[in-house]
Protein backbone atom coordinates (compact mmCIF):
# COMPACT_ATOMS: atom_id res chain seq x y z
CA UNK A 1 0.00 0.00 0.00
CA UNK A 2 1.47 3.35 -1.03
CA UNK A 3 2.02 6.11 1.47
CA UNK A 4 -0.70 8.25 -0.07
CA UNK A 5 -3.27 5.48 0.02
CA UNK A 6 -2.37 4.67 3.64
CA UNK A 7 -2.76 8.34 4.59
CA UNK A 8 -6.17 8.32 2.91
CA UNK A 9 -7.35 5.34 4.95
CA UNK A 10 -5.96 6.92 8.12
CA UNK A 11 -8.09 9.95 7.30
CA UNK A 12 -11.18 7.75 7.04
CA UNK A 13 -10.32 6.20 10.42
CA UNK A 14 -9.98 9.69 11.96
CA UNK A 15 -13.42 10.65 10.67
CA UNK A 16 -14.85 7.41 12.12
CA UNK A 17 -13.44 8.31 15.54
CA UNK A 18 -14.95 11.79 15.39
CA UNK A 19 -18.33 10.24 14.48
CA UNK A 20 -17.96 7.83 17.40
CA UNK A 21 -17.77 10.74 19.83
CA UNK A 22 -20.46 12.63 17.95
CA UNK A 23 -22.85 9.68 18.40
CA UNK A 24 -22.69 10.09 22.17
CA UNK A 25 -24.71 13.30 22.02
CA UNK A 26 -27.82 11.16 22.53
CA UNK A 27 -28.43 7.65 23.88
CA UNK A 28 -30.34 6.89 20.65
CA UNK A 29 -27.33 7.42 18.38
CA UNK A 30 -24.66 6.24 20.80
CA UNK A 31 -24.56 2.59 19.77
CA UNK A 32 -24.11 3.47 16.11
CA UNK A 33 -21.31 5.77 17.27
CA UNK A 34 -19.57 2.89 18.99
CA UNK A 35 -19.65 0.90 15.75
CA UNK A 36 -18.01 3.82 13.96
CA UNK A 37 -15.28 3.64 16.60
CA UNK A 38 -14.78 -0.08 15.99
CA UNK A 39 -14.75 0.43 12.21
CA UNK A 40 -12.16 3.20 12.57
CA UNK A 41 -9.92 0.96 14.64
CA UNK A 42 -10.18 -1.95 12.17
CA UNK A 43 -9.32 0.37 9.27
CA UNK A 44 -6.35 1.80 11.18
CA UNK A 45 -4.91 -1.63 12.07
CA UNK A 46 -5.43 -3.22 8.65
CA UNK A 47 -3.97 -0.20 6.87
CA UNK A 48 -0.85 -0.30 9.02
CA UNK A 49 -0.44 -4.05 8.49
CA UNK A 50 -0.53 -3.51 4.72
CA UNK A 51 2.19 -0.84 4.68
CA UNK A 52 5.66 -2.04 3.57
CA UNK A 53 7.12 -1.46 7.08
CA UNK A 54 5.36 -4.52 8.43
CA UNK A 55 6.87 -7.69 7.00
CA UNK A 56 6.69 -10.19 9.86
CA UNK A 57 3.25 -11.01 11.19
CA UNK A 58 3.54 -13.86 13.70
CA UNK A 59 4.46 -11.75 16.73
CA UNK A 60 1.78 -9.21 15.89
CA UNK A 61 -0.93 -11.83 15.57
CA UNK A 62 0.18 -13.39 18.87
CA UNK A 63 -0.05 -9.98 20.57
CA UNK A 64 -3.51 -9.23 19.20
CA UNK A 65 -4.87 -12.68 20.07
CA UNK A 66 -3.52 -12.67 23.63
CA UNK A 67 -4.43 -9.04 24.32
CA UNK A 68 -7.81 -9.35 22.63
CA UNK A 69 -8.73 -12.45 24.61
CA UNK A 70 -7.77 -10.85 27.92
CA UNK A 71 -9.62 -7.63 27.07
CA UNK A 72 -12.75 -9.45 25.94
CA UNK A 73 -12.80 -11.65 29.04
CA UNK A 74 -12.43 -8.69 31.40
CA UNK A 75 -15.01 -6.56 29.59
CA UNK A 76 -17.65 -9.29 29.57
CA UNK A 77 -17.23 -10.19 33.23
CA UNK A 78 -16.74 -6.85 34.93
CA UNK A 79 -19.41 -5.62 37.37
CA UNK A 80 -20.80 -2.22 36.43
CA UNK A 81 -20.03 -0.92 39.94
CA UNK A 82 -16.35 -1.67 39.26
CA UNK A 83 -16.34 0.50 36.16
CA UNK A 84 -14.22 3.37 37.55
CA UNK A 85 -11.31 1.10 38.47
CA UNK A 86 -11.62 -0.72 35.14
CA UNK A 87 -11.28 2.55 33.24
CA UNK A 88 -8.31 3.52 35.41
CA UNK A 89 -6.66 0.17 34.66
CA UNK A 90 -7.26 0.60 30.92
CA UNK A 91 -5.71 4.07 31.03
CA UNK A 92 -2.58 2.60 32.57
CA UNK A 93 -2.30 0.19 29.62
CA UNK A 94 -2.43 3.01 27.08
CA UNK A 95 0.29 4.81 29.03
CA UNK A 96 2.50 1.72 29.13
CA UNK A 97 1.92 1.04 25.42
CA UNK A 98 3.05 4.60 24.65
CA UNK A 99 6.20 4.04 26.71
CA UNK A 100 6.94 0.80 24.82
CA UNK A 101 6.46 2.44 21.43
CA UNK A 102 8.70 5.35 22.41
CA UNK A 103 11.38 2.94 23.67
CA UNK A 104 11.17 0.98 20.40
CA UNK A 105 11.44 4.17 18.36
CA UNK A 106 14.45 5.29 20.40
CA UNK A 107 16.38 2.03 19.99
CA UNK A 108 15.39 1.29 16.38
CA UNK A 109 14.70 4.66 14.76
CA UNK A 110 15.50 3.29 11.30
CA UNK A 111 12.27 1.23 11.38
CA UNK A 112 10.30 4.42 11.92
CA UNK A 113 12.26 6.46 9.37
CA UNK A 114 13.45 9.06 11.85
CA UNK A 115 17.19 8.54 11.59
CA UNK A 116 19.67 5.93 12.79
CA UNK A 117 20.48 4.94 16.41
CA UNK A 118 22.40 7.65 18.30
CA UNK A 119 21.67 10.08 15.46
CA UNK A 120 17.92 10.58 15.66
CA UNK A 121 16.45 13.76 14.30
CA UNK A 122 16.13 16.49 16.93
CA UNK A 123 12.42 17.12 16.40
CA UNK A 124 11.67 13.41 16.69
CA UNK A 125 13.63 13.26 19.95
CA UNK A 126 11.54 16.07 21.45
CA UNK A 127 8.27 14.41 20.46
CA UNK A 128 9.43 10.95 21.50
CA UNK A 129 10.65 12.09 24.92
CA UNK A 130 7.44 14.02 25.56
CA UNK A 131 5.27 11.11 24.46
CA UNK A 132 7.20 8.72 26.67
CA UNK A 133 7.19 11.01 29.71
CA UNK A 134 3.42 11.61 29.47
CA UNK A 135 2.84 7.91 28.85
CA UNK A 136 4.88 6.97 31.91
CA UNK A 137 3.04 9.49 34.11
CA UNK A 138 -0.27 8.14 32.82
CA UNK A 139 0.85 4.59 33.59
CA UNK A 140 1.90 4.92 37.23
CA UNK A 141 -0.76 7.57 37.94
CA UNK A 142 -3.47 5.22 36.69
CA UNK A 143 -2.05 2.34 38.70
CA UNK A 144 -2.34 4.45 41.87
CA UNK A 145 -5.87 5.58 40.92
CA UNK A 146 -6.81 1.95 40.26
CA UNK A 147 -5.43 0.82 43.63
CA UNK A 148 -7.39 3.53 45.44
CA UNK A 149 -10.64 2.76 43.62
CA UNK A 150 -10.26 -0.99 44.01
CA UNK A 151 -9.56 -0.51 47.72
CA UNK A 152 -6.08 -2.06 47.49
CA UNK A 153 -4.77 1.02 49.26
CA UNK A 154 -6.66 3.55 51.39
CA UNK A 155 -8.57 6.20 49.47
CA UNK A 156 -7.28 8.77 51.96
CA UNK A 157 -4.87 11.35 50.57
CA UNK A 158 -1.26 10.55 51.45
CA UNK A 159 0.61 13.72 52.34
CA UNK A 160 4.14 14.34 53.50
CA UNK A 161 6.13 17.52 54.11
CA UNK A 162 7.69 19.12 51.06
CA UNK A 163 5.54 17.01 48.74
CA UNK A 164 4.60 19.81 46.37
CA UNK A 165 8.18 21.08 46.20
CA UNK A 166 9.36 17.57 45.40
CA UNK A 167 6.79 17.22 42.61
CA UNK A 168 7.56 20.68 41.19
CA UNK A 169 11.29 19.94 41.35
CA UNK A 170 10.79 16.60 39.65
CA UNK A 171 8.68 18.25 36.94
CA UNK A 172 11.38 20.84 36.30
CA UNK A 173 14.02 18.11 36.22
CA UNK A 174 12.02 16.24 33.57
CA UNK A 175 12.06 19.31 31.34
CA UNK A 176 15.83 19.64 31.78
CA UNK A 177 16.34 15.95 31.01
CA UNK A 178 14.25 16.20 27.84
CA UNK A 179 16.47 19.10 26.76
CA UNK A 180 19.59 17.00 27.46
CA UNK A 181 18.18 14.04 25.54
CA UNK A 182 17.47 16.29 22.57
CA UNK A 183 20.91 17.92 22.70
CA UNK A 184 22.97 14.74 23.16
CA UNK A 185 20.70 11.83 22.21
CA UNK A 186 22.26 9.95 25.14
CA UNK A 187 20.60 6.63 25.92
CA UNK A 188 21.31 6.76 29.67
CA UNK A 189 19.54 10.09 30.01
CA UNK A 190 16.57 8.77 28.04
CA UNK A 191 16.12 5.85 30.46
CA UNK A 192 16.60 8.13 33.47
CA UNK A 193 13.84 10.30 32.03
CA UNK A 194 11.62 7.22 31.90
CA UNK A 195 12.31 6.32 35.54
CA UNK A 196 11.67 9.84 36.83
CA UNK A 197 8.44 10.13 34.80
CA UNK A 198 7.22 6.90 36.35
CA UNK A 199 8.04 8.28 39.80
CA UNK A 200 6.27 11.57 39.09
CA UNK A 201 3.08 9.84 37.96
CA UNK A 202 3.01 7.94 41.24
CA UNK A 203 3.71 11.00 43.39
CA UNK A 204 1.15 13.17 41.58
CA UNK A 205 -1.85 10.94 42.33
CA UNK A 206 -0.90 9.72 45.83
CA UNK A 207 -2.08 12.91 47.63
CA UNK A 208 -5.49 12.94 45.93
CA UNK A 209 -8.40 11.52 47.91
CA UNK A 210 -10.96 8.91 46.82
CA UNK A 211 -13.87 11.21 46.07
CA UNK A 212 -11.74 13.43 43.82
CA UNK A 213 -11.27 10.41 41.59
CA UNK A 214 -13.76 11.64 38.95
CA UNK A 215 -11.33 14.49 38.24
CA UNK A 216 -8.27 12.23 38.40
CA UNK A 217 -9.72 9.67 35.99
CA UNK A 218 -10.73 12.40 33.54
CA UNK A 219 -7.27 13.92 33.84
CA UNK A 220 -5.53 10.60 33.17
CA UNK A 221 -7.91 10.07 30.25
CA UNK A 222 -6.68 13.37 28.88
CA UNK A 223 -3.00 12.44 29.48
CA UNK A 224 -3.36 9.14 27.63
CA UNK A 225 -4.59 11.17 24.65
CA UNK A 226 -1.66 13.59 24.77
CA UNK A 227 0.74 10.64 25.01
CA UNK A 228 -0.77 9.20 21.80
CA UNK A 229 -0.35 12.65 20.27
CA UNK A 230 3.35 12.73 21.17
CA UNK A 231 3.87 9.36 19.50
CA UNK A 232 1.84 10.60 16.52
CA UNK A 233 4.18 13.56 16.08
CA UNK A 234 7.17 11.22 16.33
CA UNK A 235 5.81 9.03 13.54
CA UNK A 236 4.35 11.98 11.61
CA UNK A 237 1.10 10.02 11.66
CA UNK A 238 -1.93 12.29 11.36
CA UNK A 239 -4.32 9.59 12.60
CA UNK A 240 -2.49 9.35 15.93
CA UNK A 241 -2.29 13.13 16.20
CA UNK A 242 -6.02 13.59 15.50
CA UNK A 243 -7.13 10.78 17.81
CA UNK A 244 -4.77 11.87 20.57
CA UNK A 245 -6.09 15.42 20.33
CA UNK A 246 -9.71 14.21 20.44
CA UNK A 247 -9.09 12.08 23.53
CA UNK A 248 -6.91 14.73 25.14
CA UNK A 249 -9.49 17.47 24.79
CA UNK A 250 -12.30 15.13 25.83
CA UNK A 251 -10.52 14.28 29.07
CA UNK A 252 -9.69 17.92 29.69
CA UNK A 253 -13.33 18.97 29.26
CA UNK A 254 -14.53 16.23 31.60
CA UNK A 255 -11.98 17.33 34.22
CA UNK A 256 -13.25 20.88 33.87
CA UNK A 257 -16.90 19.80 34.26
CA UNK A 258 -16.03 17.73 37.35
CA UNK A 259 -14.10 20.61 38.94
CA UNK A 260 -16.97 22.97 38.27
CA UNK A 261 -19.32 20.46 39.89
CA UNK A 262 -17.27 20.84 43.06
CA UNK A 263 -16.52 24.54 42.65
CA UNK A 264 -12.81 23.82 42.92
CA UNK A 265 -9.96 24.65 40.58
CA UNK A 266 -8.02 21.90 38.86
CA UNK A 267 -4.88 23.11 40.68
CA UNK A 268 -6.65 22.69 44.01
CA UNK A 269 -7.60 19.12 43.12
CA UNK A 270 -4.12 18.21 41.84
CA UNK A 271 -2.43 19.60 44.95
CA UNK A 272 -4.61 17.12 46.80
CA UNK A 273 -5.14 16.68 50.50
CA UNK A 274 -8.88 17.40 50.28
CA UNK A 275 -10.86 15.41 52.83
CA UNK A 276 -7.67 14.71 54.78
CA UNK A 277 -9.41 15.32 58.08
CA UNK A 278 -11.31 12.09 57.59
CA UNK A 279 -13.32 11.57 60.75
CA UNK A 280 -12.99 14.98 62.34
CA UNK A 281 -16.28 16.71 61.84
CA UNK A 282 -16.37 20.43 61.38
CA UNK A 283 -19.27 21.45 63.56
CA UNK A 284 -22.06 23.19 61.66
CA UNK A 285 -23.02 25.41 64.57
CA UNK A 286 -22.36 26.01 68.26
CA UNK A 287 -25.27 23.88 69.42
CA UNK A 288 -24.39 20.91 67.20
CA UNK A 289 -24.05 18.65 70.22
CA UNK A 290 -27.58 18.62 71.55
CA UNK A 291 -29.62 18.81 68.38
CA UNK A 292 -31.82 15.80 67.88
CA UNK A 293 -32.17 13.65 64.85
CA UNK A 294 -35.41 12.02 63.78
CA UNK A 295 -34.76 8.51 62.62
CA UNK A 296 -37.35 6.22 61.11
CA UNK A 297 -37.91 2.65 60.08
CA UNK A 298 -38.52 1.16 56.64
CA UNK A 299 -42.28 1.03 57.45
CA UNK A 300 -42.35 4.77 58.20
CA UNK A 301 -40.53 5.46 54.95
CA UNK A 302 -42.88 3.21 52.98
CA UNK A 303 -45.88 5.06 54.40
CA UNK A 304 -44.47 8.49 53.57
CA UNK A 305 -43.45 7.46 50.07
CA UNK A 306 -46.78 5.82 49.23
CA UNK A 307 -48.73 8.89 50.24
CA UNK A 308 -46.54 11.28 48.27
CA UNK A 309 -47.55 12.70 44.91
CA UNK A 310 -44.03 13.14 43.61
CA UNK A 311 -40.69 11.66 44.65
CA UNK A 312 -37.21 12.64 43.53
CA UNK A 313 -34.47 10.07 44.17
CA UNK A 314 -30.93 11.39 44.71
CA UNK A 315 -28.34 8.59 44.38
CA UNK A 316 -24.72 8.86 45.47
CA UNK A 317 -21.61 6.76 45.85
CA UNK A 318 -23.21 4.90 48.80
CA UNK A 319 -25.72 3.39 46.39
CA UNK A 320 -22.88 2.07 44.23
CA UNK A 321 -21.03 0.62 47.22
CA UNK A 322 -24.15 -1.18 48.46
CA UNK A 323 -25.12 -2.26 44.90
CA UNK A 324 -28.56 -0.91 45.73
CA UNK A 325 -29.60 0.17 42.22
CA UNK A 326 -31.78 -2.88 41.47
CA UNK A 327 -33.58 -2.79 44.81
CA UNK A 328 -34.04 0.95 44.36
CA UNK A 329 -35.65 0.49 40.95
CA UNK A 330 -38.01 -2.14 42.37
CA UNK A 331 -39.06 0.37 45.01
CA UNK A 332 -39.58 3.02 42.34
CA UNK A 333 -41.66 0.59 40.24
CA UNK A 334 -44.00 -0.08 43.17
CA UNK A 335 -44.34 3.65 43.78
CA UNK A 336 -45.18 4.24 40.13
CA UNK A 337 -47.87 1.57 40.39
CA UNK A 338 -49.33 3.55 43.29
CA UNK A 339 -49.50 6.55 41.00
CA UNK A 340 -46.50 8.40 42.44
CA UNK A 341 -44.40 10.40 39.98
CA UNK A 342 -40.80 9.20 40.39
CA UNK A 343 -37.74 10.92 38.99
CA UNK A 344 -34.01 10.76 39.61
CA UNK A 345 -31.65 13.70 40.17
CA UNK A 346 -27.94 13.29 39.52
CA UNK A 347 -25.18 15.59 40.70
CA UNK A 348 -22.24 15.91 38.27
CA UNK A 349 -19.72 14.55 40.79
CA UNK A 350 -21.87 11.80 42.32
CA UNK A 351 -19.92 8.55 42.27
CA UNK A 352 -16.33 7.91 41.33
CA UNK A 353 -16.31 8.74 37.62
CA UNK A 354 -18.24 11.10 35.34
CA UNK A 355 -21.68 9.65 34.61
CA UNK A 356 -21.20 6.79 37.09
CA UNK A 357 -24.73 7.03 38.54
CA UNK A 358 -26.35 7.18 35.09
CA UNK A 359 -24.73 3.89 34.13
CA UNK A 360 -25.77 2.15 37.35
CA UNK A 361 -29.37 3.32 36.99
CA UNK A 362 -29.35 2.24 33.35
CA UNK A 363 -28.05 -1.15 34.47
CA UNK A 364 -31.07 -1.45 36.77
CA UNK A 365 -33.33 -0.71 33.76
CA UNK A 366 -34.26 2.79 34.83
CA UNK A 367 -35.38 4.55 31.61
CA UNK A 368 -32.99 7.41 30.84
CA UNK A 369 -35.81 9.91 30.40
CA UNK A 370 -36.61 9.62 34.12
CA UNK A 371 -33.05 10.65 35.01
CA UNK A 372 -32.24 14.36 35.24
CA UNK A 373 -29.13 16.47 35.68
CA UNK A 374 -28.73 19.09 38.39
CA UNK A 375 -29.78 22.16 36.39
CA UNK A 376 -32.72 20.33 34.83
CA UNK A 377 -34.37 19.34 38.09
CA UNK A 378 -33.16 21.69 40.81
CA UNK A 379 -36.03 24.15 40.46
CA UNK A 380 -38.57 21.32 40.88
CA UNK A 381 -37.61 20.46 44.46
CA UNK A 382 -39.96 23.03 46.09
CA UNK A 383 -42.91 21.28 44.41
CA UNK A 384 -41.65 17.81 45.33
CA UNK A 385 -43.22 15.88 48.19
CA UNK A 386 -40.36 13.58 49.07
CA UNK A 387 -36.64 13.76 48.29
CA UNK A 388 -35.16 10.29 48.75
CA UNK A 389 -31.41 10.66 49.23
CA UNK A 390 -29.61 7.35 48.99
CA UNK A 391 -25.87 7.22 49.64
CA UNK A 392 -25.29 10.91 48.89
CA UNK A 393 -24.34 13.55 51.44
CA UNK A 394 -22.07 16.47 50.51
CA UNK A 395 -23.89 17.16 47.24
CA UNK A 396 -27.07 18.00 49.23
CA UNK A 397 -25.44 20.01 52.01
CA UNK A 398 -26.96 23.51 52.25
CA UNK A 399 -23.75 24.72 53.95
CA UNK A 400 -22.38 25.00 50.41
CA UNK A 401 -24.71 27.97 49.99
CA UNK A 402 -24.92 29.46 53.46
CA UNK A 403 -21.58 28.97 55.24
CA UNK A 404 -18.65 30.83 53.65
CA UNK A 405 -16.25 29.02 56.01
CA UNK A 406 -17.25 25.58 54.83
CA UNK A 407 -14.76 23.73 52.64
CA UNK A 408 -17.54 23.01 50.18
CA UNK A 409 -18.82 26.62 50.06
CA UNK A 410 -19.81 27.58 46.52
CA UNK A 411 -20.30 24.03 45.31
CA UNK A 412 -23.53 23.66 43.33
CA UNK A 413 -25.87 21.38 45.30
CA UNK A 414 -29.16 19.59 44.77
CA UNK A 415 -31.75 21.60 46.75
CA UNK A 416 -33.33 18.61 48.50
CA UNK A 417 -33.94 20.83 51.55
CA UNK A 418 -36.76 22.53 49.63
CA UNK A 419 -38.75 19.32 49.29
CA UNK A 420 -41.58 18.85 51.80
CA UNK A 421 -39.94 15.78 53.33
CA UNK A 422 -36.37 14.54 53.02
CA UNK A 423 -35.52 10.88 53.57
CA UNK A 424 -31.81 10.14 54.06
CA UNK A 425 -30.62 6.55 53.64
CA UNK A 426 -27.25 6.40 55.40
CA UNK A 427 -25.22 3.88 57.31
CA UNK A 428 -24.40 6.25 60.19
CA UNK A 429 -24.23 9.90 61.14
CA UNK A 430 -20.64 10.11 59.88
CA UNK A 431 -19.78 13.15 57.81
CA UNK A 432 -19.31 12.89 54.08
CA UNK A 433 -16.07 12.94 52.13
CA UNK A 434 -15.46 16.64 52.69
CA UNK A 435 -15.54 16.08 56.47
CA UNK A 436 -18.39 18.55 56.87
CA UNK A 437 -21.46 17.94 58.97
CA UNK A 438 -24.74 18.15 57.09
CA UNK A 439 -27.23 20.29 59.03
CA UNK A 440 -30.06 18.83 56.96
CA UNK A 441 -29.94 15.77 59.22
CA UNK A 442 -31.29 17.88 62.09
CA UNK A 443 -34.14 19.57 60.25
CA UNK A 444 -37.73 18.89 61.27
CA UNK A 445 -38.76 17.69 57.82
CA UNK A 446 -35.87 15.23 57.60
CA UNK A 447 -36.09 11.56 58.50
CA UNK A 448 -32.93 9.47 58.72
CA UNK A 449 -33.12 5.85 57.60
CA UNK A 450 -30.05 4.19 59.10
CA UNK A 451 -28.79 1.05 57.42
CA UNK A 452 -27.29 -0.46 54.31
CA UNK A 453 -28.78 1.18 51.21
CA UNK A 454 -29.72 -2.10 49.53
CA UNK A 455 -31.29 -3.65 52.63
CA UNK A 456 -33.22 -0.48 53.34
CA UNK A 457 -34.70 -0.44 49.83
CA UNK A 458 -35.64 -4.10 50.07
CA UNK A 459 -37.32 -3.53 53.43
CA UNK A 460 -39.24 -0.55 52.09
CA UNK A 461 -40.41 -2.71 49.18
CA UNK A 462 -41.57 -5.40 51.63
CA UNK A 463 -43.37 -2.83 53.78
CA UNK A 464 -45.18 -1.43 50.75
CA UNK A 465 -46.43 -4.77 49.49
Amino acid sequence: MSQNLAAFFYLIASVCFILALRGLSSPRTARVGNFYGIAGMVIAVVTTLLTPHVVSYWLIIAGIVVGGAVGTYIALNIQMTALPQLVAAFHSLVGLAAVCVAAAAFTAPQDFGIGVPAAIERASLVEMSLGMAIGAITFTGSVVAFSKLQGLVSGRPLMFPGQHYLNAGLGALLVVLIAVVVATGAGAVFWLLLLLSLALGFLLIVPIGGADMPVVISMLNSYSGWAACGIGFTLSNSLLIVTGALVGSSGAILSYIMCKGMNRSIVNVILGGFGAEGGTVVAGGADAGDRSVRSGSAEDAAFILKNAGSVVIVPGYGMAVAQAQHALREMADLLKKEGVAVRYAIHPVAGRMPGHMNVLLAEANVPYDEVFELDEINRDFPSTDVAFVIGANDVTNPAAKTDPNSPIYGMPILDVERAKTVLFVKRSMASGYAGVENELFYRNNTMMLFGDAKKMCEEIVKAME
Partner: protein, 137 residues
Amino acid sequence: MADPAALAERARELAGDAGRLAHGLQALAYQLAAQSPAATGPAGGVPFVYELTVFVLAVFVGYHVVWRVTPALHSPLMSVTNAISSVIIVGALIAAGPAGISFAKVMGFVAVALASVNIFGGFIVTQRMLQMFQRKK
Protein backbone atom coordinates in the same frame (compact mmCIF):
# COMPACT_ATOMS: atom_id res chain seq x y z
CA MET B 1 39.85 54.21 -14.79
CA ALA B 2 37.90 51.45 -16.55
CA ASP B 3 36.14 52.46 -19.74
CA PRO B 4 32.42 51.81 -20.30
CA ALA B 5 33.07 49.01 -22.81
CA ALA B 6 35.12 46.99 -20.28
CA LEU B 7 32.49 47.52 -17.61
CA ALA B 8 29.72 46.26 -19.89
CA GLU B 9 31.82 43.21 -20.75
CA ARG B 10 32.34 42.46 -17.04
CA ALA B 11 28.62 42.81 -16.32
CA ARG B 12 27.80 40.35 -19.11
CA GLU B 13 30.24 37.83 -17.62
CA LEU B 14 28.68 38.19 -14.16
CA ALA B 15 25.20 37.74 -15.53
CA GLY B 16 26.33 34.56 -17.23
CA ASP B 17 27.81 33.28 -13.97
CA ALA B 18 24.60 34.04 -12.11
CA GLY B 19 22.60 32.18 -14.71
CA ARG B 20 24.85 29.11 -14.43
CA LEU B 21 24.63 29.23 -10.62
CA ALA B 22 20.85 29.42 -10.72
CA HIS B 23 20.79 26.49 -13.07
CA GLY B 24 23.04 24.45 -10.78
CA LEU B 25 20.88 25.32 -7.79
CA GLN B 26 17.77 24.14 -9.54
CA ALA B 27 19.44 20.86 -10.47
CA LEU B 28 20.45 20.39 -6.85
CA ALA B 29 16.91 21.07 -5.68
CA TYR B 30 15.56 18.45 -8.08
CA GLN B 31 18.14 15.98 -6.91
CA LEU B 32 17.18 16.65 -3.28
CA ALA B 33 13.49 16.25 -4.02
CA ALA B 34 14.17 12.98 -5.84
CA GLN B 35 16.20 11.61 -2.95
CA SER B 36 14.05 12.61 0.01
CA PRO B 37 11.20 10.06 -0.44
CA ALA B 38 13.79 7.30 -0.47
CA ALA B 39 15.30 8.61 2.74
CA THR B 40 12.04 8.73 4.67
CA GLY B 41 10.14 5.88 6.24
CA PRO B 42 6.72 5.82 7.87
CA ALA B 43 7.49 9.22 9.28
CA GLY B 44 7.51 10.70 5.79
CA GLY B 45 8.88 14.13 5.09
CA VAL B 46 5.97 16.13 6.46
CA PRO B 47 6.95 19.56 7.75
CA PHE B 48 6.29 19.99 11.46
CA VAL B 49 3.95 22.91 10.90
CA TYR B 50 1.54 20.70 8.92
CA GLU B 51 1.38 18.25 11.79
CA LEU B 52 0.81 21.16 14.15
CA THR B 53 -2.03 22.38 11.94
CA VAL B 54 -3.69 18.98 12.05
CA PHE B 55 -3.21 18.87 15.83
CA VAL B 56 -4.71 22.29 16.53
CA LEU B 57 -7.70 21.70 14.25
CA ALA B 58 -8.30 18.31 15.88
CA VAL B 59 -8.29 19.89 19.34
CA PHE B 60 -11.01 22.29 18.16
CA VAL B 61 -13.06 19.45 16.67
CA GLY B 62 -12.68 17.49 19.92
CA TYR B 63 -13.70 20.50 21.98
CA HIS B 64 -16.91 21.05 20.04
CA VAL B 65 -17.87 17.40 19.73
CA VAL B 66 -17.30 16.63 23.40
CA TRP B 67 -19.32 19.59 24.68
CA ARG B 68 -22.31 18.15 22.82
CA VAL B 69 -22.08 14.82 24.63
CA THR B 70 -24.99 14.45 27.02
CA PRO B 71 -23.84 14.25 30.69
CA ALA B 72 -25.71 10.96 31.11
CA LEU B 73 -23.24 9.36 28.71
CA HIS B 74 -20.04 10.65 30.28
CA SER B 75 -19.02 7.17 31.43
CA PRO B 76 -19.37 5.63 27.96
CA LEU B 77 -17.54 8.69 26.58
CA MET B 78 -14.66 7.93 28.89
CA SER B 79 -14.49 4.26 27.96
CA VAL B 80 -14.82 4.89 24.23
CA THR B 81 -12.11 7.57 24.25
CA ASN B 82 -10.02 5.08 26.18
CA ALA B 83 -10.60 2.49 23.46
CA ILE B 84 -9.78 4.82 20.59
CA SER B 85 -6.66 6.18 22.28
CA SER B 86 -5.35 2.63 21.81
CA VAL B 87 -4.89 3.65 18.17
CA ILE B 88 -1.34 3.95 19.44
CA ILE B 89 -1.27 0.31 18.28
CA VAL B 90 -0.34 1.78 14.87
CA GLY B 91 3.07 2.69 16.29
CA ALA B 92 3.30 -0.68 18.02
CA LEU B 93 2.63 -2.53 14.76
CA ILE B 94 5.45 -0.68 13.01
CA ALA B 95 7.79 -1.52 15.90
CA ALA B 96 6.80 -5.20 15.85
CA GLY B 97 6.78 -5.40 12.04
CA PRO B 98 10.42 -5.83 10.91
CA ALA B 99 11.91 -9.26 10.24
CA GLY B 100 14.27 -10.82 12.79
CA ILE B 101 14.15 -10.19 16.51
CA SER B 102 15.36 -7.17 18.46
CA PHE B 103 14.66 -5.20 21.63
CA ALA B 104 12.48 -2.80 19.65
CA LYS B 105 10.47 -5.68 18.23
CA VAL B 106 9.81 -7.12 21.70
CA MET B 107 8.72 -3.67 22.88
CA GLY B 108 6.44 -3.53 19.86
CA PHE B 109 4.95 -6.91 20.75
CA VAL B 110 4.26 -5.83 24.35
CA ALA B 111 2.65 -2.61 23.11
CA VAL B 112 0.50 -4.51 20.59
CA ALA B 113 -0.73 -6.85 23.35
CA LEU B 114 -1.45 -3.99 25.80
CA ALA B 115 -3.24 -1.90 23.19
CA SER B 116 -5.29 -4.96 22.12
CA VAL B 117 -6.52 -5.49 25.68
CA ASN B 118 -7.69 -1.92 25.60
CA ILE B 119 -9.25 -2.00 22.15
CA PHE B 120 -11.31 -5.15 22.76
CA GLY B 121 -12.02 -4.35 26.42
CA GLY B 122 -12.86 -0.69 25.78
CA PHE B 123 -15.26 -1.19 22.89
CA ILE B 124 -17.02 -4.16 24.50
CA VAL B 125 -17.52 -2.40 27.84
CA THR B 126 -18.83 0.67 26.02
CA GLN B 127 -21.24 -1.50 24.07
CA ARG B 128 -22.43 -3.17 27.29
CA MET B 129 -23.07 0.21 28.88
CA LEU B 130 -24.86 1.67 25.88
CA GLN B 131 -27.13 -1.35 25.58
CA MET B 132 -28.47 -0.61 29.06
CA PHE B 133 -29.65 2.89 28.21
CA GLN B 134 -33.25 2.58 27.13
CA ARG B 135 -36.35 4.72 26.92
CA LYS B 136 -39.48 4.53 29.01
CA LYS B 137 -41.66 1.65 27.85
